[in-house]
């Protein structure tokens, strides 16, 4: 849910709206002389900016700083990019790191190809005008999203446990299946988010458009793909980038179900769990706050790269229609 806030179209829109109405109100009487300094903007932005700076920007910058230090003779010494060089070249560290990056991308890919299409399908079904009991379905489908990840992990672990549950294959115990199983558990939990976002767009499409399409002889299938889908496309982009950010930051479900070692043989180790082990240590492995910060910085850079790719590669090109 956090990424929704940080990517922040709602905030952005709010600010723009405030600016627009503010300037409109104050600019009219004295339009020509120099504009007054927009104090109200500062007042409106300050609380959010202050909180954001203290709890997001400062910790982020400080962890970037920390990643360039290393303990030498009991003191933290500036070492430049040494930690990054070690992380990427040391055979132990780089194996673990690339394994985690790869697993993380798989984790994201499963969400991307399973969660979002299912979310879209459910949204389309929910938006069917003839559907009865819409509110109930909507609530039920969204419910898992509000559950604690600990509960979700625990319930699914029991359901698919060969000892207590319905499945004979130890899905969570084999390197080949563990990661995908975990990803699908997470899909089950969070499918409500894309669903509700797509649904919001679908119900905002004016009936005139679909009626016109029907008059033109289009069936439901054609209407969906030729009329509704292009209108959803911008939201598909938003949903994808939110999925990317949330999944590259994922940690809780895997830690809950598989522990910090993310077994078997690190088959479900993602960057979040790798960071946890590196930073805090695990069992007899000693933690290193500086190397942990380095892993965190790499996570940040990877997420940043993905988001930039989205903004420049997709967001700017996709056409949005004013309805």
């Amino acid at each position: 849910m956090t990424p929704l806030r940080t990517t922040g179209p709602p905030d952005g829109i709010g600010v723009e709206a405030a600016t627009a109405s503010g300037t409109a109100a104050s600019a009219e009487p004295a339009a020509k002389p120099r504009r007054r300094f927009p104090t109200h903007l500062v007042v409106f932005i300050a609380p959010a900016a202050a909180i954001y700076t203290v709890f997001m920007v400062y910790p982020l910058l400080d962890s970037l700083r920390l990643s360039m230090f290393a303990p030498r003779d009991g003191l933290q010494t500036f070492v430049g990019l040494d930690n990054f060089v070690r992380l990427l070249t040391d055979d132990l560290l780089s194996d673990a790191f690339w394994n985690a990056v790869w697993n993380n991308l798989v984790f994201f890919a499963v969400h991307f190809v399973v969660q979002n299409p299912i979310g879209l399908l459910l949204a389309a079904l929910l938006a069917t005008p003839t559907l009865r009991g819409r509110g109930t379905y909507r609530t039920l489908l969204f419910l898992p999203t509000t559950l604690s990840v600990v509960i979700v992990g625990f319930i699914w672990q029991l359901i698919i446990s060969p000892v207590w549950g319905f499945v004979d294959t130890p899905l969570l115990g084999q390197s080949s299946t563990a990661l995908v199983t975990l990803a699908l558990m997470s899909v089950w939990q969070y499918v409500g988010i894309p669903m509700i976002l797509f649904y919001a767009v679908l119900i905002s499409i004016p009936d005139e458009l679909t009626e016109a399409a029907t008059v033109d002889g289009a069936g439901a299938w054609t209407t969906f793909w030729r009329v509704k889908f292009p209108l959803i496309l911008p939201t598909v982009g938003i949903v994808s980038v939110v999925t990317y950010v949330a999944n590259m930051n994922a940690f809780d479900l895997i830690y809950t179900v598989k522990g910090a070692l993310a077994g078997p043989d690190f088959a479900s180790d993602i960057m979040g769990t790798l960071f946890f082990r590196t930073f805090f240590g695990f069992q007899l492995q000693q933690g290193s706050s500086t190397m942990g910060a380095t892993v965190a910085t790499m996570m940040f850079l990877l997420i940043l790269a993905g988001v930039l790719l989205y903004f420049y590669g997709w967001q700017r090109r996709v056409e949005s229609y004013q309805l």
């Binding site: 294959t169 390197s175 078997p264 043989d265 805090f280 007899l284 492995q285």
Partner: protein, 439 residues
């Protein structure tokens, strides 16, 4: 609208019920809160907080051990504040560096605590009155490498072995094994009967495979202390035949484990055994208290069976728990008073009987009442004791041997790594950073 809300009600009900279940899983918090309210405060009383990973023991500390101390020292209140075992080290580290850790610190053995001492988080206790009640072996886990300074009072060790369901053994007419050959025959008999899982253990949590598997049977292969020291000195290597043999024996367990053991967690195995669905549980003595509560059948214990033609037996009698003092505590005098009390015969007796399966390490004579605990303790007389070979020194570098053994033991059981290959990988890990092994 109201109609819609009406339809929502059952769903909301379900959620509330689920939420309620989620919370009631952890009754400790209630006990904890209740107790501090009831006993905290009071004029001139000093409250000491004790950090621990033994959340299973909360009730025993609060109902049995601490009241005895409070009676003798009414001016000191000790509250026991455990953290989940696998989060303890990380949480404690964070709390110590943030200055919010408790006054008394439960100490992990060897390097974890040694590092805390070297960083100045643990106060030196060499001069503590009562420390003379502990021998060198007991103190080794919480002393500097040269043994000159101690920083935690040794509290308990745990012994590895096997617990078995006596009813199942009677039903199938089998007896506890002495040798490995008998052990395998026994497992075959239980497997042939097919009603029960012969061995109850899973590999999902990994540490079980290493701790209750490899470190349990291993000392018989590497001759206990002799082999452990030889690894540290660099005169033996992890890919020597005795280590390969230990991994091979471990790998042979795979066919006797329950179906789907690859995804069985530690609580799964505990439940499966105490529900009577399995015959033998590779165990540590710390299980005794919990199993006595949960199992409604009689249990027995046998020591790790010895390989063919071996006369002497070795057990893992692992120094596991110590207690030390936060160097930054506001109440060093009171904390010392408590620590001195933990060196007494009274404490040893209380502890050993309140927590059967955790064996005191002081030289005081202690009578243990629990028959299972007695059985475990009796092996000390006929077998040689050793500790887990990955704990002292060998887990100081990257990769650290302990975490590697978790991974390798689990993989050997899962069949994804051959025993020979596992031994080679463990040695490669040591070769990477441990000088005595590099020559």
């Amino acid at each position: 609208m109201s109609n819609r809300l009406g339809r929502l009600a059952p769903a909301v009900g379900v959620v509330l019920a689920l939420a309620a279940c989620g919370e009631s899983v952890d009754p400790r918090q209630d006990t904890d809160a209740g107790d501090t309210e009831g006993t905290g405060g009071g004029g001139g009383q000093v409250t000491l907080v004790m950090e621990s990973w033994r959340n299973d023991d909360l009730a025993i500390w609060e109902d049995v051990i601490l009241p005895a101390f409070h009676e003798e020292h009414p001016d000191i209140r000790v509250t026991f504040q455990p953290t989940a075992p696998d989060e303890y080290d990380a949480a404690l580290d964070a709390k110590l560096s943030g200055g919010t850790a408790g006054d008394l610190i439960t100490c992990r053995p060897f390097d974890v605590s040694l590092r805390l001492y070297e960083e100045g988080h643990l106060a030196p206790l060499t001069e503590l009155a009562g420390m003379e009640a502990f021998g060198d072996v007991a103190r080794a886990a919480w002393s500097t490498d040269d043994g000159s300074e101690s920083f935690c009072v040794p509290m308990a060790s745990v012994i590895h072995g096997f617990l078995y369901n006596v009813e199942i053994f009677d039903e199938l007419g089998v007896t506890p094994p002495e040798t490995e050959e008998q052990f395998h025959q026994l497992l075959d008999t239980i497997a042939a009967d097919g009603t029960y899982a012969p061995l109850v253990m899973g590999t999902a949590d990994q540490w079980e495979a290493a701790t209750m598997g490899l470190q349990n049977i291993g000392p018989n292969y590497w001759n206990g202390e002799e082999g452990r020291q030889a690894l540290i000195d660099g005169t033996e290597r992890f890919d020597d035949e005795q280590y390969v043999a230990a991994f091979t024996e471990l790998a042979s367990w795979a066919e006797y484990l329950p179906d789907g053991y690859q995804s069985m967690t530690y609580p799964d195995s505990q439940n499966m055994f105490t529900l009577g669905r399995g015959a033998i549980f590779p165990a540590g003595s710390w299980e005794i208290a919990l199993f006595n509560q949960q199992a409604d059948f009689e249990m027995g214990a046998f020591a790790p069976p010895v390989p063919e033609g071996q006369d002497s037996c070795y057990i893992s009698d692992h120094t596991d728990i110590g207690v030390g003092m936060n160097a930054a505590t506001d109440h060093p005098e009171e904390a010392r008073t408590f620590l001195e009390w933990t060196t007494t015969a009274e404490f040893a007796d209380l502890y050993a009987n309140a927590l059967p399966g955790f064996f005191p390490m002081s030289d005081h004579e202690v009578e243990v009442d629990d028959p299972l605990a007695q059985e475990f303790l009796s092996w000390r007389d006929r077998c040689e004791s050793t500790i887990r070979n990955s704990y002292q020194i060998l887990s100081r570098g990257e990769p650290n041997l302990e975490n590697q053994l978790w991974d390798l033991s689990a993989q050997v059981l899962n069949g994804t790594v051959e025993p020979q290959e596992a031994a080679v990988q463990a040695q490669a890990g040591l070769d990477r950073w441990y000088e005595p092994q590099q020559q």
